[in-house]
Symmetry: C2
Subunit: 410 residues, 2 copies
Amino acid sequence: MAILVMKFGGTSVADLDRIRNAAEKVKREVEAGWKVAVIVSAMAGETNKLVGYVRSVSSLYDAREYDAIVASGEQVTSGLMALTLQEMGVPARSWQGWQMPMRTDAAHGAARIEEVDTAAMLAKFEEGFDVAVCAGFQGLAPGNRIATLGRGGSDTSAVAIAAALDAERCDIYTDVDGVYTTDPRLEPSARKIERIAFEEMLELASQGAKVLQTRSVELAMRYKVPLQVRSSFSDEPGTIVCDEEEIMESNVVTGVAFSRDEAKITVQDVEDRPGVAAAIFGPLAEANVNVDMIVQNISDDGRTDMTFTVHLDDFERARATIDGARESIGYAGLVADRDVAKVSVVGIGMRSHTGVAQRMFSALANDGVNIQVITTSEIKVSVLVQRKYMELAVQALHAAFGLAGEARAG
Amino acid sequence: MAILVMKFGGTSVADLDRIRNAAEKVKREVEAGWKVAVIVSAMAGETNKLVGYVRSVSSLYDAREYDAIVASGEQVTSGLMALTLQEMGVPARSWQGWQMPMRTDAAHGAARIEEVDTAAMLAKFEEGFDVAVCAGFQGLAPGNRIATLGRGGSDTSAVAIAAALDAERCDIYTDVDGVYTTDPRLEPSARKIERIAFEEMLELASQGAKVLQTRSVELAMRYKVPLQVRSSFSDEPGTIVCDEEEIMESNVVTGVAFSRDEAKITVQDVEDRPGVAAAIFGPLAEANVNVDMIVQNISDDGRTDMTFTVHLDDFERARATIDGARESIGYAGLVADRDVAKVSVVGIGMRSHTGVAQRMFSALANDGVNIQVITTSEIKVSVLVQRKYMELAVQALHAAFGLAGEARAG
């Protein structure tokens, strides 16, 4: 049985017309011979309305009740999508998370999927149903209660269902038409990427290209489910996110990511001894501060400086935490800079090509952009720059790595 | 375990403030020592919105999808009510129809309850939960799908849950403060009835006093669950609907009911032979026309007239049906009157008191109201009158049977 998964986000099912538009896409795939699992989000705005109700009632709400309330949005869309398909002559029915069931752990509000039972769905495909419309974002937790997967969880639902159904591909329909070499609002010559590896997509997603939920990409990578990011409002092919082995020829750099709202903290003159990093980053972890880049200067006299970056939202909490741990860390002073941004180049080609970092630094130097902090991973080089240089840095790097050229071959 | 059931309709949970108001009533009962099952409807307007979606998508919709969509309204309210109670310090959780489960038959959209499994709910009461908030109007049909009970089904849910939990009483909170001797908008001296027998309530409900769903009263009568109809917006006691044995002293007549929109059809000059009634009412039943009063005139020459009433909404369909069956019935003509109304007096005291019909006819004659058709049952006498006399007839009968007097003793 050849199965395709199609996922439609909130803006793609925002009203009855858009649901009909999405259903027409589904119908075309059915006519092409696929059995289709359609995963739907709540109608745009609905989840926010329901979350608003919950927050008005209670600040410290019971996450199990939150889940029962909020999951109703996808329940409505799944039924409406099934009816719309039926009306077009396509045999379809809706599936709630508890009906499949999609079993999750007990972490209500941010549950993890443990198992998708597809036996009942497959039996219905065999019986002649062409489409299973699945309510996204929700599953069944221990104790027979509805659990939601956290915001944006419908992408994750779609990938998990695709993996469990052994689907050929999981198409994520959204309001952008693919993954771009960088944000076209910053660099008009940015172009849509035809194929991108899971690892690259993960780096881009976590670096700020908010097209796909990081969780869903991780899951797709683990189960080798090819994804396609494409637009609900056109028929153009989108971007395929797949295993790197399925990409014939890799550019050295695939895309330029950026994160505008960063902050940098330097803990000055700490003792250069085992355990000092733990003394700094232990309290930050306990305070739920997500630390990104970390650099330790070379020690000269047994003392050193430790610099790290956090998201601007976490900045005050981070500073207060370090202040509070002053005695146990033992430092001379704190220097903070709330005026920084991070720019990264990402590409699996880096593994086999040297000189990427060098080319990056030259390009930035040519445009007079000063680099404050550098970190590297196997397929990524990131630099921290003053925020006002961010846009310039993105454009310089996009040009330096030839990203405005022709689309990469599939 | 002393269990109370409290049911709140759509206007009683129309917004977060009203949910809080309802929750305060629940809290008071918990403080008085009860374990409480709260049955909630959808927020007022929500069900209509969802039904509107369904009808826009499809005129001949799949009732299973309709049910999945529409049941979401009660899901939201049940979660919000549970959260509101928790916020007040009352241990509560929500229960969807499929979670209890409340099992129904497969008649989606108008399902009948087959069994309410209370084991899980009772176990939670034992564990320390004081309140089970149950989504009304819905259950679990064969095939693991959501079934709704039809409009107003939350009353029926409440009574079924009360019966299954062996509850002391089922309080139906609504926007009126009880059952009245007649509609106070027609007769300002109408008064609230303290206690009324199930049978009387059934006659009043089906005669037009739309306070409780007929189905829920039938169910309460079968399982001897005392009901109380009371207001969400005051603390006054309402009307107890109970077994007639629990009513010490019965008035002969308890209330005056009326139904404004009736129509009368007379099939003239049919042969007075066995099977002629079947020839008329068979086709009407097949056409789903609900026939109310039926009178056959005395035959003189082997021919007779047959008169019946239907609701005005069914009138055109009824007339067309009789037209279509003209040959098999064999009649001379049809006389139709769309300008009639029905007025009834109801009371279990009639069983042991004679002369009720006579007193009714005299009262109407004194005010010059002509009676067109009469039907009687054990505890009811109904007359058909010209519509413009309906209000006068109601007032005359309310006075004639002394209903404006003191409240009937409990």
